[in-house]
Symmetry: C2
Subunit: 640 residues, 2 copies
């Protein structure tokens, strides 16, 4: 379903419903660009650390706009043994909603725009009909503005009194009603003269009569009397007339207006928050969210609809755990055992094709009633809604394949199965040689890199020059850093020192070990920070803070367990293990109760959740529980 | 006429022709944004100097994309006494043309995009079908790449020899031609056996026969003989057969291929240069180019299609004089006497309406045959082609109005008339209080600003606080600089010192005169530059260089002549003066002959022209000629 500005509000409840009932969600984003960095190779060096990669993406990718968001919800029908899917394709644009609203600037990259244009992407739909959005800070500011307006409206001073809609001429009353209305007017006049009673209840009457009474009174008493319709126990409607002094009447009138204005302002606020409400609903659902190569999607979603990305990777992990408590990256899954050996190409289009063939089986998925179905044969790739759909299909096929290892084998593996847990919260890292994923649930892998050299050379050098230089060392791999430096990995770590030694007297180039390079880089950073007294002091403070943290020791643990040890566990194929009992073990699997209810309207309390995350993390880290559990099932590939 | 990528090449000659025949050109650009600065008021302070304004626009506006360029050419038909116009609306997009081409990033501003979207702007046309372009440096680089390819192709080594298109089976020769062809083949066989002659001329024959001969020889001699068609003095075509040894044959073949490849590469290069060719044609034509509020249009055009904007305003003026030797800004014209008093609103739409009424008369303009006409009643404003057209109409009306001051009055004033010269090369400066225009032909106006105060205050202050502070000084004008400072102009310069004196002991705010403020700013700049030894030295060098330049003294001249003196000349209405004799005084009016011929293909030699500009400028400056001439007719408004 295509969702644009004009049909967004009408379909929002459908979106909420789809999220609420789903077993899992698949998402995908289309952006106005990928990288404003100098070159892709510089942006994605094969030996980036996760921290470096995060910094590069944050610096070079966040100024682009996420302008199409695909959401595909999947719900398993146990009786029919098939998934029912609902696909939404949202067009998104930061249309300024009033004069004081933020005027967002975003960058477009010609190659990305050209690529989308060739796919038939409809830019007019984005720019003319895109759904607006606000991040949390902007929402807060707007809410404050509105609160101010509201309190002004509620205060007596600022709002001028507007008289009730006085009818300027007598109401035309049909002959058959005249008698009744005349009688009622007489009754009221008597009541108003009499000082005893404060209010007068009229006999129950028809809607048409009530209308005539209202109109007549509004004409006869232009200064206003208080007229109200109430309902009796017998569900009959009747009119109550009350005497009001001038002040009371004004107060009531203002109350009514303020109420209307509040509703109106709330509506305006909701309109401005726009698409962010969908992301809040996804976040608050706590459902498993699937994506393909989804690091950039996750970063953009948080950056655009929650808050500017934090400076540190560790903070990013905290925020992500609040917005997307459970993520699964199908590219990482397909690149990992038991899939790695039988899947050659993990690009989304190729993966989808591969997963239709043995030993996999194409999943049974149908569009829900009233939702258009996609035809995988016609390949509408790079429409976000379609890509999200395909991603979901890939996940189902791979999850079900894991069921074949069980005894007895199972055809259907649910999104809540323990079998897929090892793939949770690990986001694929593109083109990093020895760190397959960014680990959102703890410290990242730290490979030894004792076979890696850092080489500096004149800018005229090409890859062939490096191959020639290292021709004595057999197979090498070159990862360019910039014009004048690259990492070169040798096949045998023992040769590293030989290479460094032989280069000692070279004039045009310089070789150092990876460890030396990292050490020097840290030193340079320190030296740079020394420059200004203030930043130096701050750094000291930070350094003291982190020295005692469990991160470092944990990283070392990883290094030993996962990397020196891969040759032992890396080739082991998956052994049949016990499957979960069914979909009703939801609570056990750690979806907190407060996340399953009424998650639609309010954004998640990021700070509160962040604290919880910190607590869980430190518990896991000190017990070493998370990692040892994970590696039991999930195998880190030996080479990438 | 709408020009997009697919019909660009086919229509280029039409564009060239339209430019060549035109009396003047009108242009307009649509951009993806206006300013990425903090706010419009900060970007356009009422007391910006032209240098400051240039720097701000350069810094905050050049990352946007000019993605629609309107060109409207106007040619006067003396017999019919009307203008014939041709309007072109170019869609422009930096589509990468190959893998090594620049991947342009550009910024979009939501408010601008939303504005254009509301006008029905077609973004799909821009992004899917926009015409590419290269600036001069990119063109040079691509040309070098191609030259390298070409020299490789011409060298013997790299290109493998391809045999002539050998026909694989005997040619089917019609019965009536068999005898002739057989005879010719016999003749050739004889010639090849015989070692005496180097070449053989065949009898003249028909095209069909020549084709048969070519085919037959290509089949009979697959290794190739040299066959060439020549034309006799009698214009009869005949075939010449030459003996070639293997080497010679290869060489000739390669020559032919290289030629084809050259043509192909040239074609590719032309395609890549794309829309820049139109701008080169406009530049090389030397024609008067009209725009409305055109400073940003000019800056963007130069930045996108020529070179990144220079750092200094003076260099920008030089480059502009090369690309657009004669510019006229209709907003500046309409804001100047004799128009200023009778035109209230100079926005393009309002101006166009005003100029249809007395004392103006709507110009007679018709679309050329085959060109669509615009309907000014339907108001397709903000399509660049339409805006250029309207701009042209405004110019014609205003120019013709000037003719009413002549004795005898004239209905038609041409684009070459001396009457409009005072408006040349002066670009409207938006929201600057006392400097109406950026002067491209010399130093800028330097108003005294002795009634202006610079005030610093806490960031909580609002305009009302400033009004209160200066309540004793009568009417004031506030121009915000940033959150904590503003210029305040008093109505009487004598009160400036009083204001400064009374503020001496104030704690929360600080007042200084404009002169003091400028002096401090210069000092700060100097201090900043002191920081690094190198930049300091360079600054010294620059300072020594400019000390002797005629700019400073000229500026002083301006200051006295134009500003203290405005009260004398400012109110003088235009007096009837002698009009030009006709369109044939073209040469006298200073269009150099070398600019009227063959300007279509090559970009203007910016450096050469820049030198000429410098020469002219210094001559004018030393003689004081330009300015005294100008001020005679063109009146600088007293207040803006």
């Amino acid at each position: 379903m295509e969702v644009i500005r004009s049909n967004f509000k009408d379909n929002l409840s459908k979106v909420y419903e789809a999220i609420e009932e789903a077993d899992f969600l698949a998402i995908d984003g289309e952006f106005s660009g990928i990288s404003d960095g100098p070159s892709v190779s510089a942006l994605t060096n094969g030996f980036d650390t996760p921290e470096e990669r995060y910094q590069k993406l944050k610096k070079h990718s966040m100024d682009f706009l996420l302008f199409q968001f695909g959401l595909c919800t999947f719900k398993y029908d146990h009786t029919e043994e098939k998934y029912i899917m609902k696909s939404f394709n949202f067009y998104i644009f930061p249309k300024p909603f009033n004069r004081s609203s933020p005027d967002v600037k975003f960058v477009c990259q010609s190659s990305s725009i050209d690529f989308l244009a060739n796919q038939g992407f409809d830019f007019n739909k984005v720019f003319r009909n895109g759904i607006p959005y606000l991040n949390q800070e902007e929402e807060r500011q707007l809410r404050e503005q509105y609160d101010e307006k509201r309190s002004q409206a509620n205060g007596a001073g600022s709002l001028s009194y507007i008289s009730p809609n006085a009818t300027k001429c007598p109401v035309v009353i049909p002959e058959d009603q005249k008698k009744i209305i005349d009688k009622i007017v007489e009754q009221i006049e008597e009541f108003l003269k009499n000082e005893e009673n404060e209010s007068l209840e009229l006999e129950p009457c028809t809607g048409f009569q009530r209308k005539l009474i209202y109109q007549t009174l509004s004409w006869k008493y232009p200064k206003g009397i208080h007229v109200e319709t109430l309902e009796s126990d017998k569900k009959e409607r009747y009119i109550v007339i009350s005497k009001v002094d001038e002040e009371e009447r004004k107060r009531r009138e203002q109350q009514k207006q303020a109420k209307e204005q509040n509703l109106c302002l709330q509506e305006e606020l909701n309109d401005a928050v726009g698409f962010s409400r969908v992301v809040h609903a996804i976040a608050n659902s706590g459902k498993l969210v699937i994506g393909h190569n989804m690091l950039l999607d996750v970063m953009h979603t948080i950056h655009q609809f929650y808050c500017p990305l934090p400076d540190d990777l560790s903070e990013f992990k905290e925020v992500t755990s609040c917005v997307f408590p459970r993520l699964l990256d199908t590219k990482l899954m397909a690149s990992t055992q038991p899939f790695k050996d039988i899947i050659n190409n993990t690009s989304l289009a190729e993966l989808e094709k591969r997963l239709k063939e043995v030993p996999f089986s194409p999943p049974k998925v149908e569009s829900a009633e009233g939702f258009p179905s996609y035809d995988t044969a016609s390949e509408q790739l790079h429409e976000a809604g379609y890509d999200a759909y395909i991603t979901g299909l890939c996940f189902i096929s791979m999850a079900n394949f894991l069921g074949s290892f069980l005894s007895p084998p199972k055809n259907h593996v649910s999104a809540r199965s323990k079998l897929i847990e090892p793939f949770f919260n690990k986001l694929f890292l593109m083109r990093v040689m020895d760190i397959p994923y960014l680990n959102l649930q703890g410290p990242d892998l730290q490979p030894k890199r004792d076979h890696v050299l850092h080489v500096t050379f004149p800018k005229e050098w090409k890859t062939s020059d490096l191959y020639q230089l290292f021709s004595a060392f057999g197979n090498i791999q070159v990862s360019w850093i910039d014009d004048t430096s690259a990492f070169v990995s040798l096949s045998q770590p023992e040769q590293v020192q030989i290479a460094v030694n032989t280069s000692r007297y070279a004039e045009s180039y310089r070789i150092q070990t990876y460890a030396e390079y990292v050490e020097k880089k840290h030193e340079e950073k320190r030296a740079k920070r020394k420059c200004t007294e203030d930043s130096w002091k701050e750094m000291e403070r930070k350094r003291l803070k982190t020295q005692g943290s469990p991160y470092i020791s944990q990283s070392r643990y990883y290094c030993i367990n996962s990397f020196t040890g891969t040759s032992i566990v890396g080739k082991r194929s998956m052994s049949p293990i016990q499957e979960e009992t069914g979909p009703d073990n939801l609570e056990e699997e750690g979806v907190p109760e407060d996340q399953t209810n009424s998650y639609a309207e309010s954004p998640p309390d990021v700070k509160k959740r962040a604290k919880r995350f910190k607590k869980i993390k430190s518990e896991q880290v000190s017990a070493g529980g998370l990692t040892s559990n994970s590696t039991e099932i999930f195998e880190v590939p030996e080479t990438w």
